[in-house]
């Protein structure tokens, strides 16, 4: 049943991204609309390392995740100087800048043609080609991600992040480094997004800019908000629900000529309904 396993694999990859977005937007309160760009860098870098170097798969993904840690810190630093609404536009800017680089840097990312032929993960001599095998990798990846998120939220680090979200000044007055906490959170979010990118590229064996554009960032944000902001449960539920949605909507037989546009329309309506009547999402806390 490759269809079901493919759905689960993609959902699990998006859970890693959901954790990353929830950490930044939900918990620390940095409203970032450029997580898909970091996800993209993770995917392209892993693909590049696997195609042009002899690095084994685990090392390539870790390297990509490490670079995304640095990149995500850079991307979220402006939020320290620029407040709420202004940071939204800066974040839009960063995302569009990344898309321009993905689309035009034909040397590195294959440009608009994308990067075909990304090798499948090879661990201990076993090639994870079929979705039924690949699901093991993404389940472990998601598991590790959720474990880190859960441990972090239970520890003083999570309490510190929640306090920062409520009143940064008070936290500083209690002798805690707000900058240090935000940078650490951005680093963690970067690691999640980078590793998700690595898994995504090797699963699809093809990456192109369309998976990492502004729509993708907005989709990530929506997943977190509908699934439930600021909670682990919300980060896990969101991707599974929103990836299943188009398939569920496909069951309603709408005339094929307008079926697709109608589905996107219903998708938009759902967003509005959730924001009006249940802004905390299915399993989350108030944003």
């Amino acid at each position: 049943m490759d269809f079901l396993t493919t759905y689960i694999v993609l959902a699990e990859i998006y859970v890693l991204l959901g954790l990353s977005t929830n950490l930044l937007v939900g918990i620390v309160g940095i409203f970032s609309v450029s997580q898909a760009a970091v996800f993209g860098v993770g995917a392209y870098l892993t693909a590049f390392l696997l195609m042009h170097t002899a690095l084994p798969f685990p090392v390539a993904v870790l390297l990509a995740a490490a670079l995304c840690v640095g990149l995500n810190i850079l991307v979220t630093l402006p939020s320290l100087r620029v407040s709420g609404d202004y940071f939204v536009v800066t974040s839009f800017g960063i995302q569009l800048l990344a898309t321009a680089v993905f689309t035009n840097w034909t040397g590195g990312t294959g440009g608009a043609n994308g990067l075909p032929g990304v090798p499948a993960p090879m661990i201990l001599g076993h090639e994870f080609l079929e979705p039924t095998e690949f699901i093991a990798l993404t389940t472990i990846g998601m598991g590790l991600g959720c474990l880190c998120f859960w441990l972090m939220m239970r520890a003083p680090f999570g309490a510190l992040l929640r306090a920062i979200r409520e009143d940064e000044l008070a936290v500083a007055a209690l002798g805690k480094s707000v900058l240090g906490a935000k940078v650490s959170a951005a680093a963690l979010a970067g690691a999640f997004a980078g590793s998700a990118g690595g898994l995504y590229a090797t699963f699809l064996s093809f990456v192109d800019p369309s998976s990492f554009d502004l729509d993708a960032s907005i989709f990530l944000l929506t997943m977190v908000v509908v699934g439930g902001a600021r909670t682990l449960a919300g980060s896990v539920l969101g991707p599974f629900v929103l990836l299943a949605l188009p398939q569920i909507l496909a069951l309603i037989d709408i005339p094929t000529s307008i079926a697709a546009a109608a589905r996107q329309l219903i998708y938009g309506l759902l967003l509005i309904v959730f924001m009006l009547f249940r802004p905390q999402g299915l399993l989350g806390e108030k944003l």
Partner: protein, 254 residues
């Protein structure tokens, strides 16, 4: 050897407003010193200057012989100085215990690496810190409200929690910004009793206070601030008796 807390020649201008004008004073160790003066005299500005939230144009702050100039709020808390805010700034969506925990220093697992790679050590240390937080809450009489959300505490209880939170930092010099404002009756006496008890336990308090009766009952020294300048200092009796100061403060005798 200079005084416990030595503030000398502080100046700070915000555009047209000269918030602090050559302001100097000292605070003795183990004493309760009240900072008095009409609204806008610069009392909170002094707190911001001492705790590193505000860089004065000129002037120095020394604590136990060590200069605090240019240090970050985090470093100053490490030296043992902590402050509360006039508008409380408690974490409304967290419980009383979590607010106190937020004030505690040297948590294990306050960074992501510790939280993730040493989970058991973190959990054990956190349990210890939780008990310590309970002790602090008990100290201010809030032990039975430990798990209540701050938004569900009474105003009096929130005032006590503010003090508990900075006690948790382990600071020895407490800068309290109007700890009794808005309180009356039992709640007021309870806070005043707490302040005296803290002094008896070796804490030094610098308190911004409007209520002259409170000043008379708890203050060892009084600093009278006007237009960002120290106009007078002395015992509560001297300051309150001085007609000129009363004129400035109330626009009429007591």
């Amino acid at each position: 050897m200079s005084a416990y807390l030595q503030v000398s020649g502080l100046n700070k201008r915000f555009g047209g407003l000269q918030a602090l004008r050559d302001c100097s004073f000292t605070v003795g160790q183990g004493r309760i010193t009240c900072l008095v003066g009409p609204n806008g005299a610069g009392k909170t500005t002094i707190f911001n200057a001492i705790t590193g939230f505000l860089v004065p144009d000129t002037g120095h702050v020394e604590f136990q012989g060590r200069s605090l100039d240019g240090q970050s709020p985090q470093q100053i808390v490490r030296h043992g100085i902590a402050r509360t805010f006039q508008n409380l700034r408690l974490f409304a969506d967290l419980t009383a215990r979590d607010n106190v925990l937020a004030g505690m220093q040297d948590h294990v697992g306050e960074g992501p690496l510790g939280a993730i790679f040493r989970p058991f050590h973190t959990a054990r240390a956190l349990a210890g810190k939780r008990d310590a937080a309970m002790a602090v809450l008990a100290h201010v009489g809030l032990e039975d409200r430990a798990d209540a959300l701050v938004r569900n505490l009474s105003y009096g209880e929130q005032k006590l929690l503010c003090i508990a939170r900075i006690l948790a930092t382990g600071a020895e010099l407490l800068l309290l910004d109007e700890p009794t404002s808005g309180l009356s009756g039992a709640a007021l006496t309870e806070v005043m009793a707490l302040l005296r008890r803290l002094q008896s336990e070796g804490k030094t308090l610098l308190v911004v206070e409007h209520n002259t009766r409170v000043v008379q009952q708890i203050a060892d020294d009084v600093l009278f601030l006007h237009h960002g300048h120290l106009l007078a200092h002395g015992s509560p009796a001297e300051i309150i008796a001085d007609p000129k100061l009363a004129e400035i403060y109330f626009g009429g005798t007591l």
